[in-house]
C-alpha cells in the first residue's frame, strides 16, 4: 500500500500547507485502518481453516483415506470414542464417515434438483407471466420464506409433516419389510428433502428472477421478431442467457443445504443409516444423517478428545466443500460479466 491519497495533492497557493498535510495524513490513516480491518477478516478465515484442520488431523491420520469409506456402525464408533475404549482391532479414533457423507449427498442433491426445477418455473412466472399485483405479493413472500429460521421449519416438520407421513404414507407392511435393519418413522429422507427444498427455494428464486429480468430486452425482441412464441422465447433465449446466474444460484443453495444442521437434526430420523436405493420406494422413508447433524448431536463441547477430533474432521469436510463451492460460484459467474448480467 505504497500509494498515498491521490486527492488533495499540494495546492501551494491558496491553502495553508500545514492544514493540508494533516488532512492528507488523516486520509491515509483512514485508508490504512479500513484496509487493516479487511485484512483482519482474511486472516480470520485463514486461521479458521488452519485451526479446524489441525484439530481434525488426529482423526484423519489415524484412519487414513478410509476415513471417507464405509465400515461398521457410526453410532457404535461414537459410543466407543465416548467411553474411550477402542473397538476390537482398531484405534480409539476409528471412524468411517461414509454413511454421513452418503446422507449429505442424498439430501443435498435431491433437494437442489427439485428446487432447481421449481425455482426456475417460479422465477419465470415472477418475471414474465405474473400480473403486477401478483408480483407485488410474491416478492415479499419469497423474502419471508428466506427469513424464516431453520428451527421453525424443523418444528413444523417434526410436529406436523413427520406424524402425517408416519400415519398416511407408511404402511405397516413397509415398516416390517426393513424392520431387521432399521426402524422407519415419519422423520426420514423424504421429509428432510421436502423441507430442505422449501428452505433453499427462496434464494434460488430471487437470484434466478434477478438474472431473467436483466437479460437484454433486444435478445428477446430478436427472438419474438422471428415469430417465436413467448414461452419458447423464454425457454430458448432468456433462460439460456440467465444460465450462468442460475448455476450460481445452484451453488449458493448447495452451500446452504450443506451446512443445515438444526432442521435436519429434527426431521431426518437421527440415525446414521446408509439409505439403500435398492429398497425401492422404501428408500425414501429410511432415516439419514448428515455431518452437520452428527456434529450437533455428538459434540459435547470439550476439545481434544477423540469425539472432538472426529467432529472437527467432519467440520473440515464441510468447510472445504463450502470453500470449493464459493470458488465454483465465482467461476460460473465469469461469463456473465461480459454482458453485464450479474
Amino acid at each position: 500500500m505504497a500509494a498515498g491519497a491521490s486527492y488533495g495533492k499540494p495546492l501551494p497557493a491558496a491553502v495553508p500547507r500545514s492544514g493540508l498535510h494533516a488532512a492528507v495524513k488523516a486520509d491515509r490513516r483512514a485508508e490504512h485502518m479500513l484496509g487493516a480491518l479487511a485484512v483482519g477478516v482474511l486472516v480470520l478465515i485463514g486461521l479458521m481453516l488452519v485451526t479446524v484442520m489441525v484439530n481434525a488431523w488426529p482423526s484423519f491420520s489415524a484412519n487414513g483415506l478410509s476415513w471417507f469409506g464405509s465400515g461398521g456402525d457410526i453410532v457404535t464408533q461414537f459410543r466407543a470414542m465416548q467411553t474411550n475404549t477402542a473397538l476390537p482391532g482398531h484405534s480409539v479414533e476409528y471412524f468411517r464417515a461414509w454413511p454421513l457423507i452418503w446422507g449429505l449427498l442424498l439430501t443435498t442433491v435431491l433437494a437442489v434438483a427439485i428446487a432447481l426445477a421449481v425455482s426456475t418455473l417460479a422465477a419465470i412466472f415472477m418475471t414474465e407471466f405474473a400480473p403486477a399485483r401478483v408480483r407485488r405479493v410474491l416478492e415479499p413472500i419469497v423474502r419471508l420464506l428466506a427469513g424464516v429460521p431453520s428451527v421453525i421449519y424443523g418444528l413444523m416438520g417434526i410436529l406436523l409433516i413427520a406424524p402425517w407421513i408416519n400415519e398416511h404414507l407408511l404402511s405397516n407392511a413397509r415398516k416390517q419389510s426393513v424392520a431387521y435393519v432399521v426402524q422407519l418413522s415419519g422423520a426420514n429422507l423424504a421429509t428432510a428433502t421436502l423441507i430442505l427444498t422449501v428452505m433453499i427455494l427462496p434464494i434460488m428464486i430471487a437470484l434466478s428472477a434477478n438474472a431473467l429480468a436483466s437479460v437484454p430486452a433486444s435478445w428477446r425482441e430478436g427472438s419474438a421478431a422471428l415469430g417465436v412464441n413467448r414461452w419458447r422465447t423464454i425457454w430458448r433465449v432468456s433462460l439460456r442467457g440467465a444460465r450462468p446466474a442460475i448455476s450460481a444460484a445452484v451453488v449458493l443453495a448447495t452451500a446452504r443445504a450443506l451446512g443445515e444442521a438444526i432442521m435436519l437434526a429434527m426431521v431426518s430420523g437421527g440415525r446414521p443409516f446408509g439409505a439403500n436405493p435398492l429398497d425401492g420406494l422404501t428408500f425414501f422413508f429410511e432415516p439419514v444423517e448428515t455431518p452437520a447433524t452428527a456434529i450437533l448431536k455428538e459434540f459435547g463441547g470439550e476439545t481434544n478428545t477423540p469425539i472432538a477430533h472426529t467432529a472437527y474432521a467432519l467440520a473440515a469436510v464441510l468447510l472445504f466443500s463450502a470453500a470449493l463451492l464459493s470458488f465454483a460460484g465465482w467461476a460460473v459467474k465469469q461469463p456473465l460479466k461480459r454482458y453485464g448480467i450479474v
Partner: protein, 342 residues
C-alpha cells in the same frame, strides 16, 4: 426451433400495437409449461401462507402472558416448565452484541472495498474471503469459535469452570461469532448502496478540496444510510434465526447462568439460551420435549422475523426518496457550514 409457431397475427385495425398474445395458439407442451408456471407461483403463496397461519393458530392458542415473565424450569409437566423470559433476553443480548461488532466492521470493509480499493489484488482476495465467509456453515463457525474462546487468553470472555479450564461458552463468545455471520450481509448491502451512488457526488466533494476520508464520512455514508440499515436488519434476522452457534457456544442450559462477578458482566460471560435454542430444546428432538412451549416461542420468533422483514421492505423502498433528498443539501451543508473540515 423447428416447431416454433407464429404468434397470433395482429388484427387489421391495430397494426401499430399488436394484440396481446394468447396462449391458445401455442403447442400443447408450451401451454402445459405455462400452466406449471402459474401452479408454482400459486403454490409458493400457499406454502408461505400455510406456514404463517399454522404458527399463528398454534401459537396464539398456547401463548400466555406469563410465558414472557417466567424463567424456564426443567419439569416433566409442560404446565410447570416455566416461560421463556431468559431466552427472550438472550436473543436480544446476542443480537445486540453481534450487530454492535458487525455493523461498524462491515461498513468499514465495504467502504474500503469500494472507495479506496487499493491494491487490486488485496481487494480481490478480501472480496472472495467475504464470499467464503458467507458460505461457511454456522456449525463450523461455532466449532472454530469454541476452539478460539477456550484458550486461556480469552478467559475474560467466558470465565472458567471449577477445574480451571476456560469454558469458552458465553453470550460474549456467541455474540462475536454471530458478528461473523452477519458481516457478509452488511458488507454486501453497503457495497451495493455505495456502488449505486452517482460519481458526481464524489467528484463534487473532491472539487471542493475534501479528502476521501471526509467525503466518505460527510457525503457518502450519510446518503446510503437506508442501504446500511437494511443490511443491518438482514444481519439481525440471520443472527436471530441461527441455532447451531447458540447450541454449541452458548451451552444448552435454558436458564441464563451468570459466571460470577459484576451482575451485567456475569450474565454476559455466562451461558444461557435464546429463543431458537429454546424451541429446539422443547421440540420432540430436544431434551425438554414440551411442544406447547415450543409453539409459543416459535410464534414469538416468527413475529420478530415478520417485523424485521417488513422493516427491510420499508427501508429498501424508502431508500430512494431519502437518497434524492440528501444528494444536494448535504454537499451544500458541507461546503458552507462553519464546522466544515478539510
Amino acid at each position: 426451433m423447428a416447431s416454433a409457431q407464429a404468434s397470433a397475427g395482429p388484427a387489421p385495425d391495430t397494426i401499430a400495437r399488436p394484440r396481446r398474445e394468447s396462449t391458445a395458439s401455442w403447442p400443447l407442451a408450451d401451454r402445459v409449461c405455462y400452466g406449471l408456471c402459474w401452479a408454482t407461483g400459486i403454490g409458493l403463496c400457499v406454502v408461505a401462507v400455510g406456514i404463517v397461519l399454522y404458527f399463528f393458530s398454534k401459537g396464539i392458542s398456547q401463548l400466555r402472558l406469563s410465558l414472557f415473565v417466567e424463567s424456564p424450569s426443567p419439569s416433566l409437566h409442560q404446565s410447570q416448565a416455566g416461560g421463556f423470559r431468559d431466552p427472550l433476553i438472550g436473543t436480544f443480548v446476542v443480537t445486540a452484541i453481534g450487530i454492535a461488532i458487525a455493523a461498524p466492521v462491515g461498513v468499514g470493509i465495504a467502504t474500503w472495498l469500494t472507495e479506496y480499493a487499493r491494491p487490486r489484488w488485496l481487494v480481490r482476495a478480501v472480496d472472495s474471503g467475504i464470499e467464503t465467509l458467507a458460505g461457511v456453515p454456522s456449525i463450523v463457525l461455532a466449532l472454530f469459535g469454541l476452539l478460539v474462546f477456550a484458550r486461556g487468553f480469552f478467559v475474560f470472555l467466558s470465565g472458567s469452570t471449577n477445574g480451571g479450564a476456560v469454558s469458552g461458552k458465553s453470550f460474549l463468545a456467541a455474540g462475536i461469532l454471530m458478528a461473523l455471520l452477519a458481516l457478509p450481509l452488511i458488507v454486501g448491502s453497503t457495497r451495493e448502496a455505495l456502488a449505486q451512488l452517482p460519481n458526481r457526488m464524489r467528484e463534487a466533494s473532491f472539487a471542493l478540496g475534501k479528502t476521501r476520508a471526509t467525503t466518505i464520512r460527510r457525503v457518502l455514508l450519510p446518503s446510503i444510510r437506508p442501504g446500511i440499515a437494511s443490511g443491518v436488519v438482514l444481519g439481525m434476522g440471520r443472527i436471530i434465526g441461527d441455532t447451531a452457534i447458540i447450541v454449541i457456544v452458548l451451552g444448552s442450559t435454558l436458564k441464563n447462568q451468570g459466571a460470577g462477578g459484576a451482575p451485567l458482566l456475569s450474565t454476559l460471560r455466562g451461558a444461557g439460551s435464546t429463543l431458537t435454542s429454546y424451541v429446539y430444546n422443547n421440540s420432540p428432538a430436544g431434551e425438554g420435549n414440551a411442544p406447547q412451549k415450543a409453539y409459543a416461542a416459535a410464534f414469538v420468533l416468527l413475529i420478530i422475523v415478520l417485523a424485521l422483514n417488513a422493516l427491510v421492505t420499508r427501508l429498501s423502498r424508502g431508500g430512494r426518496h431519502e437518497r434524492h433528498g440528501h444528494d444536494g443539501p448535504s454537499l451544500w451543508r458541507m461546503a458552507f457550514s462553519p464546522r466544515a473540515r478539510l
